[in-house]
């Protein structure tokens, strides 16, 4: 009953012309920000924050949240079309999305991304509305050992992301873990691998690495072949630009998987949307009937991570709104915004400001519909970019990448790093090293190290803490299973081969 009353109240707030307008402004800006590589929602919200001081807090939070989840929609566009991740949560979308585009299914990939985003985004809002308080309390029972186990599970996904050679994938992952170690050590404030450069004290932003390795590496690799006339196929007609019934059917499980995994990981303060998208991609591949096709452009490989990163938004708002605890960079900025608007963010925020909470929830339903309506018609338009001949397209990708990276920090140093990682990506392609494990290691490395050290500090150095807690033990077991099962399969295949040869 309370929920229904709340929702009625919420729609009354969200459907006022003023709030509809700000919701639209938010999701529109979000889409644009998502499409632009480099510039992510935290930076945008931070930049726009001073402009919202004069606004009504409810309208302001509706707009800023619109930017937050809107960016998740737009993020897939450049990932799919250009192999340039639009923001950190869309890195995984590159893996199959870009391959789909290469096979002439760019429109379908964009359509699936939009539909997955819509389904999962709406799921996230429903879950936020119904189970926020109990789930937030459950999330509190997660501590460092559980986070460590979660990161191990994520890292185990490397076997699923590996191509031909597991050894090469592991090597790439180790490089990623090393890059994650660059910067300032949280515990001792000591500098690590900074070579005396202040620019490296904050570590290496993984968006720079991802854009360099994926986008620039791809362009450099393709330039070498000198096939000037090679254009990516763009089918004619609206029908061919949208996903087929079969493709949507293939994605049924992925929509659900992305929605649930994204939300659950979003609720945990200390995980994040990039991790959510990696894990849901891994699960999708693990349960798939044709795991070998992942990475060659399967629609599920787009639907799962895109769903996860949208559903994560709803999840991330759970600890922020019910406990006053920000779980990610973006929600931390929203928390600062609440203070600036004169609200008191904390466990009583919903109770004190019901119109804000329910107005926000209702606006998120409306915003998700707006985003679908906004994004679907844009697909044919965006797909046209692939009609550009490569001698125009490649410089465009270079330009977008460089501007994207520079726009975030305004630092030339980051642009040089982009160039360096572009060369690394090129070298990895030439030597046939997969790049996804590198990004995986980079995304998880920092969190994983931190969680392990925190756990050991809690237990005074006794590693048993990692396996004596049920949730942590279960996740570690799962991680071990993910690592070992394919080895058994491989060993079995060798055995059969050996037997056959003997015969």
């Amino acid at each position: 009953m309370e929920v229904i009353n709340g929702m009625l109240h919420g729609f009354a707030v969200a459907l006022t012309p003023v709030n509809l307008w700000w919701c639209f402004v938010g999701v529109f800006l979000g889409t644009v920000v998502g499409i632009l590589p480099g510039l992510g929602p935290p930076a945008t919200i931070a930049m726009l924050l001073p402009l919202t001081f004069q606004m009504n807090p409810t309208s302001a939070v509706i707009m800023l949240a619109g930017i937050y989840y809107g960016a998740k929609y737009g993020g897939s566009t450049t990932s799919i079309l250009l192999n340039v991740p639009g923001e950190s949560a869309s890195i995984v979308t590159c893996l199959d999305g870009y391959q789909m585009a290469k096979r002439g299914r760019a429109g379908a990939a964009l359509g699936i991304a939009a539909i997955a985003s819509f389904i999962a985004g709406t799921f996230g809002v429903i879950a936020l509305m119904l189970v926020a308080p109990p789930l937030a309390r459950f999330a509190l029972s997660f501590s460092s050992p559980e986070y460590f186990a979660l990161m191990c599970l994520g890292l185990a996904m490397v076997v699923l992301l590996a191509g031909e050679s597991l050894v090469k994938a592991l090597l790439a992952m180790l490089v990623g873990l090393w890059i994650a170690g660059i910067g300032t050590d949280l515990f001792s404030d000591a500098s690590r691998f900074t070579f005396g450069m202040t620019e490296l004290l904050d570590g290496v932003d993984f968006v720079i690495v991802a854009i360099g390795v994926f986008a620039l590496g791809e362009v450099l690799g393709n330039m070498e072949t000198r096939e000037e006339t090679q254009m990516l196929p763009v089918p004619k007609g609206l029908r061919n630009l949208l996903p087929t019934k079969q493709e949507l059917k293939d994605c049924r499980f992925a929509f659900l998987n992305g929605s649930v995994i994204g939300f659950l990981i979003g609720v945990l303060p200390g995980a994040g949307s990039t991790i959510a998208s990696f894990i849901s991609y891994g699960i999708e591949k693990a349960v798939s009937k044709h795991p070998e096709k992942f990475g060659t452009g399967v629609p599920e490989g787009v639907a799962a991570p895109e769903g996860a990163n949208n559903s994560e938004t709803g999840g991330a708002l759970v600890p922020l709104l019910t406990l006053g605890i920000p779980g990610s960079g973006t929600t931390a900025i929203l928390l600062a915004a609440f203070i600036l608007w004169g609200l008191r963010p904390g466990p009583l925020l919903i109770q004190d400001n019901p119109e804000l909470f329910w107005g926000l929830v209702a606006s998120m339903y409306i915003g998700n519909v707006m985003l679908l309506v906004l994004n679907l018609p844009l697909i044919p338009l965006f797909a046209q970019i692939l009609k550009l001949p490569v001698y125009m397209l490649y410089p465009v990708i270079f330009g977008i990448s460089i501007v994207g990276v520079y726009a975030v920090s305004g630092s030339l140093f980051d642009t040089w790093m982009l160039a360096a990682f572009g060369l690394l990506g090129y070298a990895m392609r030439k030597l046939d090293y997969p790049s996804a494990p590198l990004i995986l290691g980079l995304v998880l490395g920092d969190n994983m190290e931190r969680a392990l050290r925190q756990s050991l500090m809690m237990s005074q150095g006794d590693p048993a803490i990692l396996v004596s807690r049920p949730i942590s033990a279960a996740m570690l077991f799962l991680a071990a299973a993910v690592l070992i099962v394919p080895l058994f399969r491989k060993a079995n295949a060798w055995r059969i081969k050996a037997i056959e040869e003997q015969l």
Partner: protein, 326 residues
């Protein structure tokens, strides 16, 4: 160049249009004054800078506009280097925090220390409180410290890095009492609170305003306040000294510095400007709302404070096990 010329002309126009704000002699900024902060929008220094510019504009204390410039990165070192490069520029000032004093001690990468910059004024002292979960068995700070003496290394505190104030307070208390408990670093304030409310740690140091909300919700209890005298928001909670632990109070401090080699006239101008700001009603309201303390101090005093603070911190950081490089 062109924009500079235009802004200079605008500035002159502003001065001409606003003669009441212009004293007859001495330094006057000739173009919009830039306030450098080391956090992004919404961060502590940024919020203070925006509050200051709003007050200065509202009370018409400056003949020119003031604009906040965010130079993030390197835990403040990027901003410090930027200010140092503006040597001799009388139209640039910056907001410093305790980080600006301690970070150069720890970082071999630092090319600039606070001693290279020109002190202007100290503005704010930010107190903190020591909190436990509402259902914690420790009713007083003494309970906690006695328990940690009985079980050395068993009790836990969540906080930032070992150079943060959270840990400095812990070090001072441990040294004073001979107790011993563990300090676990978490990168974000949210995770520190989550660790406490989830029962994974026993104690934390938290901002009074933030703790207030959790107390109101019945999730937290405050044992002591890290302040020289009781805060208005916590009339019934003892200060560290009142609780029986006479340790130095290490405040979170904020104030204004300027590039190296700023002219005497300009220093006097900015000193005067902020002396007038702290007299305004809006400044007093700002302090009260955030439960901050007035820490106003003029340039010469501030230079002495920098020396003392740096020396104290050097000792504390060494005790805490941090690698001090200068």
């Amino acid at each position: 160049m062109k924009t500079r010329l235009i802004s200079a002309m605008l500035a002159i126009a502003c001065v001409a249009a606003n003669p009441a704000a212009a004293p007859a002699q001495g330094f006057q900024p000739s173009k919009p004054v830039e306030i450098i902060v080391h956090t992004g929008p919404g961060g502590g220094a940024d919020v203070l800078a925006r509050a200051l510019t709003t007050m200065i504009e509202k009370e018409k204390l400056s003949p020119v506009r003031m604009q906040v410039v965010n130079k993030t990165g390197g835990g403040g070192l990027t901003a410090m280097a930027f200010v140092a490069e503006k040597k001799g520029d009388d139209n640039v000032i910056a907001l410093f925090t305790g980080n600006w004093l301690t970070n150069p001690l720890l970082r071999a990468e630092a090319k600039v220390s606070i001693k290279d910059l020109t002190p202007i004024v100290r503005l704010v002292l930010e107190p903190a409180v020591i909190a436990v979960k509402a259902d914690s068995p420790y009713k007083t700070l003494k309970d906690f410290i006695e328990a940690s003496k009985k079980n050395p290394g068993k009790l836990k505190q969540s906080g930032g890095s070992i150079t943060s104030r959270d840990n400095v307070v812990r070090q001072l208390l441990m040294k004073h009492t001979g107790a011993n408990w563990v300090f676990i670093s978490f990168p974000g304030g949210g995770e520190r609170i989550a660790a406490l409310l989830g029962g994974h740690v026993d104690l934390m140091v938290i901002e009074p305003q933030e703790a207030g909300e959790h107390i109101r919700a019945g999730n937290m209890r405050v044992l002591a306040q890290i302040s020289d005298h009781r805060l208005p928001g916590y009339p019934n909670v003892p200060t560290l000294k009142e609780a029986g632990y006479d340790v130095p109070i290490v405040p979170q401090v904020r104030g204004v510095v300027a590039p190296p080699g700023m002219s005497k006239e300009a220093v006097a101008y900015y000193e005067g400007l902020f002396a007038r700001v702290v007299q305004t009603a809006s400044w007093k309201k700002y302090l009260e709302e955030n439960q901050f303390q007035d820490g106003f101090m003029k340039s010469t005093e501030l230079a002495r404070f920098f020396d003392e603070f740096t020396n104290t911190m050097r000792t504390i950081l060494k005790d805490a096990g941090a690698k001090v490089v200068r």
